[in-house]
């Protein structure tokens, strides 16, 4: 077995040697071995592959000089595996580039032949290439494209299984290997040329705009932290934006996390290609359960969309128990029993683990729904919860047409404020009070919760006024929220939801940045659950 990464690797040559090429994955949560060998700020895919090679004693590796991280991966691995070879990969595909790549392939073959003490038979290669020459892509009326950096196989599979459209994977994990085997007089050269003619990845000099087709129903754009190539194309697509576009940013290993799958599901829901059963619910009472990371909220409405009762309780260590408890409280408040309930929709992080729910819907769709129900002039919802923050754009009918979420860290969320309150030695309620008079306009420069905490500690050490520090923290949260708003563009009116909407200081700071008043619902924490209850009633 020989491990490889890049789709431009001559895997068919390896197969012709009678060896098994295996695309190396990076599925490790910890990079213990890797970070002893390479800087921790490197791309996490490269670190994950390094971890995999060391952990599983992979002895043979073939890499391409495709990016700075993989080049350095080669440097680090050079004396650590039995066989390692790096192929130079030209970025162009003119005849001289093809010659260069052809020579690289020959050089690899010679090295591998010497290492394995095996001969290479060209007829084996020919047979393999012939077997791969008629792979045609499935055609479907509706398609969505996955573009950007490599996306894990299991995520691709989940997307395929949860949408009604054809999914075209343009990332490096796509296995589109169709070869031109016409020129048998120089099979290897024509093979080299075919490899360079694969769908160009971002590192290639070629223009990729031909990949974007107006017929597409939408694009899921994947970017990986510390992978330089892809955010540019996303920025370009975003500015043209005549297609629904979802950006996900991961550190590769967490691309199958709940948060990412939520975004993908919400995107499929908003583009109308999510597989789901549509049925109209009967009369009675309808429940929405929002199982969030910090609080669990339940709303019960009747068939006329009147809110009958609601409950908000902290999510304990067991999300399911909290959901049961919140449901029970809401039932008691309403004077209802479980049998009176017609249907239940669950949303929030913990939505998949609520057994009594009839359906699950993402919190993005639910927040949009709930906010628009409260006030139909709302076009932008700013939701800042305990662990995440999101901005949702609604159209004139209240449909979600775009959204952005914070990355996986807790910068600019309720958790951030909780940590800071603890550092300042005050309660979160005290922190939420507005202090409009500021003695000194301090700015917290670090958005990372951990770094900002040390910054606050040093401000305390400098004897700064506590109210000024709180003001600075509110500004930091507001700046993060407004930069999320800016990512999808400003459009009023704005509603703020989630627990942080109860913090007047933050609300005030966001308002002054946006230059507009925020609509704050009577109970900002139940908007997601309300949306879920409405979806439960409407049955779609």
């Amino acid at each position: 077995m020989i491990g490889y990464i890049c789709k431009y690797t001559p895997v068919e040559i390896i197969e012709a040697f009678g060896e098994e090429p295996v695309r190396l994955e990076s599925g490790y949560k910890s990079h213990e071995h890797a970070e002893a060998l390479i800087h921790s700020n490197m791309c996490s895919f490269a670190k994950g592959v390094l971890e995999n090679i060391i952990e599983n004693n992979i002895e043979e590796v073939i890499l391409t000089a495709c990016c700075d991280s993989i080049k350095r991966l080669y440097d680090v691995l050079k004396d650590k595996v039995k066989f390692i070879h790096i192929l130079d990969l030209p970025r162009k595909k003119d005849p001289l580039a093809i010659d260069l790549f052809y020579n690289e392939i020959i050089e690899f073959m010679e090295a591998y032949q010497a290492f394995k003490n095996k001969n290479f038979a060209e007829e084996n290669l020919l047979k393999i290439l012939e077997s791969k020459s008629f792979n045609k892509e499935k055609q479907s009326a509706e398609s969505i494209a996955i573009l950007g950096a490599r996306l894990k196989d299991d995520v691709i599979e989940k997307i395929i299984n949860s949408c009604t459209a054809n999914v075209i994977n343009f990332t490096c994990t796509a296995e589109e290997r169709v070869f031109n085997i016409e020129a048998k007089d120089n099979l290897l050269k024509s093979y080299a040329e075919s490899l360079l003619n694969l769908t160009p990845c971002m590192r290639m000099a070629e223009d990729r705009s031909k990949l974007i087709n107006k017929e597409l129903k939408g694009i899921i754009y994947n970017t990986i932290k510390f992978c330089d190539f892809y955010s540019y194309e996303y920025a370009e697509l975003k500015s043209k934006a005549d297609l629904p576009l979802l950006k996900i940013e991961t550190d590769y290993n967490d691309s199958n996390s709940g948060q990412i799958l939520t975004r993908i599901d919400a995107f499929l829901e908003s583009t109308g290609i999510k597989k789901m059963e549509k049925q109209r619910a009967k009369k009675g009472y309808f429940v929405g359960v929002d199982s969030g990371s910090t609080s669990t909220n339940v709303v019960i409405i009747d068939e006329n969309k009147n809110i009958i009762s609601y409950s908000i309780i902290p999510t304990g260590p067991k999300a399911l128990e909290s959901a049961f408890k919140a449901f029970e409280i809401a039932l008691n408040n309403a004077g209802l029993q479980e049998k009176d309930i017609t249907s239940i929709v669950a949303t929030g992080y913990g939505r998949v683990s609520i057994p009594f729910a009839d359906r699950i819907v993402t919190e993005i769709t639910c927040h949009g729904k709930g906010a628009f129900f409260i006030d139909n002039t709302v076009r932008t919802v700013i939701d800042i919860g305990g662990q995440d923050s999101k901005v949702i754009r609604l159209d004139d009918s209240g449909n979600v047409i775009d959204f952005v979420m914070n990355d996986k860290c807790s910068a600019g969320t309720g958790r951030f404020l909780e940590v800071m309150a603890r550092t300042l030695g005050i309660s979160i309620e005290e922190m939420a009070k507005v202090h409009k008079e500021v003695k000194e306009n301090i700015t917290i420069t670090s958005m990372c919760t951990v770094f900002a905490e040390s910054e606050v500690i040093s401000l305390i050490a400098q004897n700064k006024d506590q109210r000024d520090i709180i003001h600075a923290l509110n500004k930091a949260v507001a700046s993060k929220a407004v930069s999320l708003v800016d990512r999808i563009g400003r459009k009023g009116k704005y509603m703020m939801t989630g627990g942080v909407a109860k913090n007047q200081g933050v609300v005030y700071a966001i308002e002054s940045r946006l230059g507009e008043k925020l609509i704050i619902p009577f109970e900002p924490q139940i908007i997601g659950a309300l949306g879920a209850a409405l979806i439960s009633l409407e049955g779609k």
Binding site: H39, C43, S69, V76, R91, D99, L100, D228, Y232
Partner: protein
């Protein structure tokens, strides 16, 4: 409030008026130029003073004449531009100056709000931000190499598409071979053709050869300078080691840069003998980082002994066939290819310079640099020189953890 802060605030308040910001930046550069000209700091040797003025002027010239200017990266072969009297603007320099004006945060945020990744190198984000806000007037041409830095191709592709400005990407192979030289030479011939077409003037091959001859003479002086670098205490601040990138890269081949190195060699001969501890830097120097400024600028105790980026190519270029010669220069750059090449160059340099310590400041997002940190650390321990690596950002000051870095830097300096 100090003058720079007032100036910064005026720029930031006018960001929605690109014409005005462009004028303000020009005003800032002009003021800096005259300030340097009239208030000579006696602690700065004549050659470095000359370089300071030359660097500011080169940025001013390209910004003032966008129609005769090309945007390039640090490693682009600007010999062609010099021979055709086209003014290069290299993105690394522009972004450093914007950080000097304290507006890099605004420009970085702008780039990020347009979709750029927050882990992308801030030299690139600052430049893109300025371009997004139309503070930068579009040039006539763009040229980049693919080598060393992954961000080059996508940044230039993005900017070229956005502004509708022609771009030539020179693909530099990772390995050196005869075929690789042929491949690059052909591209350089195409660049020359493209430049002739865009700027509507001929490239005089004799003039190009003259530029290459000047470059060879300059490199001979560079090697001579290195002979003294081990004995003398010379570079007064980190900024000058970074200004040297103007001379060792983008403007090498010009008469002015040759003149600079002539003065430099004379100056270093007269410089005081080495005293205190000397530090050799890997890759970049964090010119805006407070701890480093406190410890290294105009310091008697610690002094800057050089950086390997200024010596990534020290050989001669083939004067008979400048296209082939420049192709070889690009492929053989010590930062291109396997890290062994870079390690070998660092080894040669530290044998000459004999520093007391080596510091690598890992600029956030620069994977070619930080990816090799532990390998360079091994080299340092082999040759018995203490090594420190710190993380931070050379442009976006918000990414520098001053408290944490101070403890590490102080402990390292105490260790020496």
């Amino acid at each position: 409030m100090d003058t720079v802060k007032i100036y910064t605030n005026i720029i930031k308040d006018n960001m929605d008026r690109p014409e005005k910001v462009d004028k303000l930046i020009n005003f800032g550069l002009t003021s800096a130029y005259y300030y340097v000209s009239f208030f000579k700091d006696k602690r700065i040797p004549k050659s470095l003073h000359y370089l300071n003025k030359y660097s500011i002027k080169s940025i001013k010239d390209s910004l003032a004449n966008p129609q005769n200017s090309a945007w390039v990266n640090l490693f682009a072969p600007s010999e062609f531009l010099i021979a055709m009297d086209i003014k290069p603007l290299f993105i690394e320099a522009y972004s450093s100056f914007m950080s000097g004006f304290f507006i890099e945060d605004y420009l970085v945020d702008t780039a990020e709000s347009r979709g750029m990744s927050n882990t992308l190198c801030s030299y690139h984000k600052t430049f893109i931000g300025a371009s997004e806000l139309n503070i930068l007037k579009k040039p006539k041409f763009m040229m980049t190499t693919s080598m060393i830095c992954d961000a080059n191709i996508p940044t230039f592709k993005y900017l070229s598409k956005k502004h509708g400005v022609p771009l030539y990407i020179i693909d530099i192979p990772y390995k050196y071979s005869k075929d690789a030289v042929v491949y690059v030479k052909k591209q350089l011939l195409e660049v020359a053709e493209k430049l002739e077409e865009v700027f509507n003037r001929k490239l005089d091959t004799d003039k190009l050869r003259e530029v290459v001859k000047t470059e060879n003479k300059t490199r001979a002086l560079m090697r001579e300078y290195l002979n003294y670098a081990g004995e003398k205490r010379f570079i007064p601040t980190m900024t000058f080691e970074m200004y040297m990138l103007f001379a060792s890269h983008v403007f090498i081949g010009s008469k002015e840069v040759l003149h600079f190195y002539e003065m430099l060699v004379e100056d270093i001969k007269r410089a005081p003998e080495r005293s205190g501890k000397s530090i050799f830097f890997i890759h970049l120097l964090p010119i805006f980082e407070k701890n480093f400024k406190d410890y290294f600028n105009f310091s008697d105790k610690f002094h800057i002994a050089g950086s390997d980026l200024n010596y990534d190519f020290v050989d001669e270029i083939d004067e008979n066939d400048p296209f082939k010669g420049i192709a070889e220069k690009l492929i053989l750059n010590s930062f291109n290819g396997e890290i062994n090449r870079k390690v070998a160059r660092i080894k040669e340099l530290i044998e000459k310079i004999k520093p007391d310590g080596i510091i690598q400041f890992c600029h956030l997002g620069c994977k070619q640099s930080m990816g090799g940190t532990f390998i360079i650390k091994n080299l340092a321990s082999e040759v018995g020189i203490p090594f420190l690596y710190l993380d931070g950002d050379c442009v976006d000051k918000r990414n520098n953890q001053e408290g944490q870095n101070r403890t590490r830097l102080e402990a390292f300096l105490e260790m020496l």
